[in-house]
């Protein structure tokens, strides 16, 4: 598979603060890659470096085969970018916004723009400053989709959107998949949406990439485990390192297994630490819970 984004040891400092450290990852053509992480993890800084809106302190990034620091109009006309903090020309109507953007993009598709306009329920004659936040985000997405970008980058696209608008927004993004070549990179707090959408997930914490793997493999290796019949207080030392957030309430112990390899193995590990424990209940974890258990672990380490 061809890499649409490929970074090597990408880093950015702001004064003494390291916003992003030693970031190496790749996003393949035809995938939806979600960058997740707590506030301040470095998601926006990463995205800005990829799009040449910020210069890396060290390291490098290739976007559609071009070094990020050399991205010019020709490359940027194949990349769409929508950010929650995007500034739009507020005095323009939507018709004026589209007319303004159109000449910059050789691949601009009028029919597609009109279809999206109807789908998003956007009024052509209204000034952007008179639109709701949801409408503005849809207008921004429309102006980025209309030229059928090969790479669409979305920075916190869902934040502050009501569920209906979020839904329309996602449908709009998925329109891209009718093209031969498309790739989406998004950063989000909305993990429930991401679980269905993303096939690859990267988790950033404190400027470092903690993991980068497929949603499928994450779902396969994380399990919520609970068992009872563990008399005593507190937790014994030497619990397996793959057990995240172990806690006890009375005789019941609960933890998140981060390297699940079958119920038999989990049961025997439990037995080694808690002789006489009951058979555990083992349940798959939604991505949101996987993220929360990792975020709690990060906080403990910090």
């Amino acid at each position: 598979m061809e890499a649409v984004i490929e970074t090597k040891h990408l880093a950015r400092r702001f004064g003494k603060a390291e916003a992003v450290r030693d970031l190496t990852f790749r996003v393949e053509e035809g995938s939806i890659y979600a960058l997740l992480g707590p506030n301040g993890a470095g998601k926006t800084t990463t995205i800005k470096m990829l799009l040449n809106l910020l210069t890396p302190t060290t390291g490098e990034a290739l976007i559609l085969g071009t070094a990020s620091t050399r991205l010019g109009p020709a490359e940027l006309s194949r990349i769409g970018y929508v950010s929650e903090n995007q500034s739009l020309p507020e005095d323009f109507t939507i018709a004026e916004l589209l007319a303004y953007c159109r000449p910059f993009y050789p691949t601009w598709d009028d029919a597609f723009a009109m279809r999206l306009l109807a789908q998003f329920g956007l009024p052509l004659d209204r000034k952007l400053k008179h639109l709701s936040r949801g409408m503005k985000m849809k207008a921004a997405l429309l102006s980025s989709l209309a030229y059928r970008p090969r790479l669409l980058v979305l920075d916190e696209p869902f934040s502050g959107l009501d569920p209906l608008v979020r839904d329309e927004f996602i449908r709009g993004v998925l329109e891209l998949s009718e093209q031969e070549k498309w790739t989406v990179l998004l950063s989000s707090h909305d993990i429930d949406e991401v679980e269905r959408l993303a096939d690859q997930v990267g988790i950033l914490n404190g400027g470092e990439l903690y993991l980068s793997e497929s949603t499928e493999s994450l779902q396969a290796r994380f399990r919520a485990v609970e068992f009872s019949g563990a008399p005593g207080e507190g937790l014994p030392p030497g619990l397996p390192g793959s057990w995240l957030n172990p806690e006890r309430a009375g005789n019941t112990v609960r933890f998140v297994e981060s390297r699940f390899e079958g119920e038999a193995q989990t049961a025997s590990q439990i037995h080694a630490c808690f002789p006489g424990a009951s058979a555990p209940t083992v349940a798959p974890l939604p991505l949101r819970e996987i993220f929360l258990s990792l975020a709690r672990t990060f906080r403990l380490k910090a």
């Binding site: 035809g30 839904d167 269905r196 096939d199 949101r288």
Partner: protein
């Protein structure tokens, strides 16, 4: 709109859930042989799922001959023999397994579960 319903639960692979929902719709007669099956793009948009996942689900259903692809026409439900009661039972098996897992988590006895099923059965009949 999709011609069958899918209730996606977080935490389980989306691919398996879609394949399961289609099989269930076919076996229970919601989808009939020859019915048009939605395109990958529509499937992905309606369910807000990754297009690659939708593609994978369709490919798996084609491999199992539940769907048939006619170039230029589209994808339709295959001419599958009527489901045997065993196949219907197998399909129910997953639901029952979920029920048993939930019941065990709640520390219920098998009698409690039977009682609850009887009650719901009466209410719906």
């Amino acid at each position: 709109m999709l011609p069958f319903s899918v209730e996606l639960r977080p935490g389980l692979p989306v691919f398996e859930q879609v394949v399961y929902a289609v099989k269930k719709a076919v076996i229970s007669g919601v989808l009939l042989p020859g019915d048009r099956f939605p395109s990958v793009r529509l499937l992905s948009q309606e369910l807000r799922i990754n297009p690659n996942t939708a593609h994978k689900a369709v490919a798996a259903l084609v491999a199992e001959k539940i769907l048939e692809v006619y170039p230029g026409v589209g994808t339709v439900i295959g001419a599958i023999p009527a489901a045997t009661s065993r196949q219907r039972g197998e399909l129910l098996g997953e639901e029952i397994e979920r029920l048993v897992v939930e019941a065990k988590k709640l520390r219920l006895e098998v009698g409690d579960v039977h009682g609850a099923i009887d009650e719901h059965w009466k209410r719906l009949s």
